[in-house]
Each structure stands twice: as C-alpha cells, then as structure tokens.
Amino acid sequence: MLIVLPSSATCPAIGGCRLWPHVGPTYCVEKLSREERGVTGVRAYFPTLTPSQDTGFSVFGFAAWSCAFLGGSCTSIQDTRAIQSIETEHVKLFCGSWIHKIFGKPLVCATALFCIQIYLKSAQMSFRRIVRDVRDSFGSLSRRSFEVRISGLLGHHKGKSYSSVNEPHDFSQITQQSHWATLPPELLRDVIKRLEESEAAWPSRKHVVACAAVCRAWREMCKEIVRSPEFCGKLTFPISLKQPGPRDGMIQCFIKRDKSKLTYRLYLCLSPAVLVENGKFLLSAKRNPRTTCTEYVISTDADNISRSSSTYVGKLRSNFIGTKFRIYDTQPPYSGAALCPGRTSRRFYSKKVSPKVPSGSYPIAQVTYELNVLGTRGPRRMHCIMHSIPASAVEPGGIVPGQPDNLVARSLEDSFRSMSSLSSFMDRSLDFSSSHFSTTTGGAQEGFEATTDTKERALVLRNKPPRWHEQLQCWCLNFRGRVTIASVKNFQLIAATQPTAVGPTTTTTAQPSGSGHDKIILQFGKVAKDTFTMDYRYPLSAFQAFAICLSSFDTKLACE
C-alpha cells in the first residue's frame, strides 16, 4: 500500500517549512505490517539531491516528522537517529527509473532516493487516523485526486487480510463518525489501564466490566489489560470464577446458607473482617434432593438458579449415601485431561440439542469422604481428584492448562461458532473411552487410572489432618482467625504428596515433597450460624472451590 503525497505545497508538514529545503517535492509513504503483533511501520521514500552528512541528518529528521505526522505521536527524532544508525546500511539508493516504473511518470530529477523504515510503537495506530489526517491536510487543492488514490488503495487494502480490529471497512465512514470514535487505540488503552488500576476493588470494579461491553475493540483491549486472578489476585469478569486463584495469597470469600430455600451464595469479602454482611456476589447454588442422589446446581445468578438458564455454570452431584461427589463443569477441561465423559455430555452432543444452550456437562473433579472409624465426633477424611488440573500444576513452574480465556463462557462461544469441530473432538474422545474403559459404573476415578499412562496425572487434594488438642479436648486446625466456630464441616485442603488412594498404577510415580505441597489451597469453616468462610488459591478456581465446599454441607450418612 502506498500513500502518495502529491505535492509539497499542499502538505503542511512540508508547505512553508524551511526545515528541509533540499527535500524534493514528492515522496511516498508505504505502510508496513510486521508479522509480530503490536508493530506497524511506515516506510518513507523521498528523493534528495546530495546525500551528504548534513542533508542525511535532516532527511531522517524529516522522515520522522512526517511519519509522526501521518501516524500519530509514535516516533521522534531520537527514534530516527537510532534508526539512522541501524538503517544506514539498509538505506537503499534507488534510481529515478525505478520510481518511474511505479508511478508512470518521472518524479523529480532526483539522483538518489532514501528509503527509511520506521516502525511505530503501536500496531493499533489505525490506518483510519492516518488517512483522515492526510486527507484533511490536503485541503481543497488536491482533494479530488487524492480521494481517487485513496479509493484505489482501498481496493488493494481489502485484498489483504489485516488483523487489526481497528481497520475500518469503509473509509467513507471516517468523517461521519464522532471525534471520539477515532481516539487512537494506544490512548484508549492508557485510559482503560488507568480505570482498571483505580477501580481495583468491588463494587466499583464493575466499570471495567462495563468497558468490556462497549464494542469489540474495547473488549479486546480490556481482555488484554485485565490480568487473570492467578497473577493479579482480583476477580473481574464472570470468567475469572473459572480461572485459578492467585499464586500469592488467597482470595477470601464467604458463603451464606439459606436453609429454608436450600440455597447457598458465595460472596467475595470486601474487608478482612470475618463476619461481614455485604460482599460481592460471585456464585449461587441450589440443593435439589432427588431419590437417588443430591444435586447442587451452580449459577452466576443470585436468584434464578436453574439448569436451563444461561447463567448455569456447573453442578455437584452426590452418590446415594453422600460420601462421593462429582463436580461437573459446563466447559470442557483441557484436552490432555483425564476425562471420562459422562452420560450427560453424550446427550449434549446429540444433534437435537439447540447449540445455543450451554448444557455441556464434563466431570472435572471427584470428592470422596472416607468412612469414619472414630465415630460421629471425629474428623472426616476428604479426598479430591481434580481431573481438570494436572498434578504438575503445583510443582514449581507448573501451570493449569486449558483455562477458559474468553470472557464469554467457552462452551457458549464454541457452541455457536465451532460446534462441528468440538463435537468431532468429543466424538473422538467418546470412541477412546469406549474402547479403553468399561462403560458401566466405571466412574471418573477408574477412568483416571486407566489414562495415567497416556495422560498427565490429575492433582489430588486431601484435607489436612487435625490435631487432637489435649486441653480443649477437641480436634483442631489452625485457620488463622478465619474460622471461629468448631464444626465437622470445617476443613483445609492441601496437595497430596503421596497419591496412595488413587490406585496402584500411580504409586510408582510418588513425587518428591516439593515446595508447593504444604500450602493450604482451600480452607472452609464456620463463622456464624449459616455463614461460612471460604478461602482459596491457585490452582483451584472459585467455581471448583465453591463446589468442594458445597459437598461439605451435605449430610453424610457414613460420616455423621
């Protein structure tokens, strides 16, 4: 793409300017695009008669100025000086005939032409802005001829695929749009960054969410600026409920139980106090007793908790006696996960289901309460297998793969974007499961065992065993002031170093006691009647932590 600036007399960057008298009347600027994200450039060609040291300098100065003029504030002379030193060897001399070939007529009697490439700092510097400035600057003198050229460029431009979201599809819109709509993206980014920094705490953090709902360009920008809770420790978009908690410190939450309505609500603590009445609502759950099991439906809507709603995010289901729970997510875990698809996912992928309903159901974890040999009073033993989190996640440098990175629930987006590819993926994994596992009461744990050879081992969490306190004559755990009332439901989860309970296949892979194993990943306990605190951290997400805590609410025949 070439932007041809017709004559020095009509361009304010040149016109009347005595800075660069030796620069010929015509030069052209070519917009460059690099493969890497975030870099755009302008290449300026202009003729000069005597490329001496002195004019060389000024030529570069002129190039920087005109590029800054065209593209915004991105370059300065300093950049050009730097570029000069780098680019001197790249400066190419072109003969006039070459120009003649391109433009069909001789430009000037230039003997040499400098070629300067300047990469602007921001790729987002929209072409729209450049065009607007250039067009404005020509005034009435050459507008018509210029517009013809721009429209010629437009055809060329459309032929190429540009990744930038800011590229306008129709240049005629440029002048019609509001002044603000053409705010250079790097300035907008700065504004949103400031907003994100200043609105760190709820409830004012909702303004960041509002910014992400303005338009696509804004949404992209917000997605880039807002870091995941794993690194910033803050919850922002609903999707952060399914992203791992912070690596440093814990996210402090509390759960309110409504016994009469069988509902549970998870709130984010807005102050360090244990007993608080108001918090940022995060998730809700409703207990649905069934004849054979108990089911907890989990939703992002505080009041309308149902599986048919678009706010449904997953569920927890117990076995008949309430000792084994399985957590289901509406979104599939990463493809390497030890996943054993349940019946529901098979149903979901039948073609009859409307693709707009996010009703996927993937077992992502299993919580087991072991039979209590000490009777009703003794501590319970919990055992959580997190199928969606590999055990390596808690090792140094470990990560949780396959995190949903979209603000929009992934299953939701995929369901109307790439339904076919996803279902083919699931078909494959269904085939895989049927050929390798028994299809009866296999369950996630056996599925997990069978896949340990080929897939990564899942993270196993167990509760920290309480100590018997002689003086108080009770079982004790140190909750560091976050739990105030003794309850059989209280627990602290840590990563299991010896996955003995997982199965015989994994005993050989006993891991060394790494640094990440003594940290409490999730703790839950009573602070008042119907109020419980829940603190979680990496690698668990708020959703997973909430579901595990819900299992602790359920009455266990064998445990109590």
Binding site: S76, I77, D133
Partner: protein, 166 residues
Amino acid sequence: MSEGTKEPDGGEEKVVLKTHDGQEFTVDMATANQSGTLKNLLSEVGSSSNNPQVIPLPSSITSRVLGKVVEYCQRHAAGGGRRGGMQALEQFDEELVELDKDMLLDVTYAAAFLDVPRLLDLTSQAVADAIKNMSVEEVRHYFGVVSDFTEEEEKVIRSECPWAFE
C-alpha cells in the same frame, strides 16, 4: 498573531508553531522543550530569535487546542518556583483538564502527538474519571462508539453485566 507569547527576554531562542488554521504561536525554547517531539526536532535544526523556525502542525491540532497545550507547557516550563509553588501548579493542572469532551480528546491527542507525557497523564486520567459511573450505553454515547457485536454476543455480554452490577 503571537498568542501565548511570553515577554521576550533579549536574544532568547524562539520557535513558531503554526496550526493548520493559520494561527501562529511564538514560544520560547523552554516551553517548546516541554514537548518531546519539538525538543527532538529543534535539537536537529536549532532556532534563533531573529529567524525563528516555523513548525507546522497537523490539522487535528487546532489553535484552541494548541493554546491549551502551550498554556500548560509555559506553566510547567516555569516550574513550581513561580506563581505560588507546586500547589498552585497542581491546581492549575486540575483546572486545565476541566474541558468538554471534544476538547478533552483533542488536547489528549495533541499531548500524545507533541509528546508531553505529564499533560497526557492528566488528560488520560480525566477521561478515565469521566468513564467511571457510566453505564455501557452512556460510554457508547460519550465516545460515539457503535456496538459491533452480533446479537448472540450482545446477549452473552448482557448476561455478564448483571453479575458485575449485582
């Protein structure tokens, strides 16, 4: 035609900033040096009081906008030492960005173009403060942005907002 000119000190270097609408601003070097762009440019070519350099500016910087920028640069070139110290300067900064939205954008853009980082800080913060407490529709209206989401995407996004605003 020399708005925003300070009392000429004998023999001091001057530079003329010419806007697209023909206005000329004659400023001294200390003022011009507040702008990174001008500073770099002038370090290349130099300027003198008898024969000041004329620097043309793009059309997006109108004389009204440039007036604001020059006002800012002059105050900050003088520094906190004059006219009541740093406190007065801070107050001046606060009042400077009390602008209507079109003007605010133009000054922001000019500050970015002329590379006046602290002015850009001020204006960006002013814009960020303006967005606070606005609904999605208000932000769209303020920025003149038309939503380009598809109906489905819009639906998903709308379901996100009640959660945030709960």
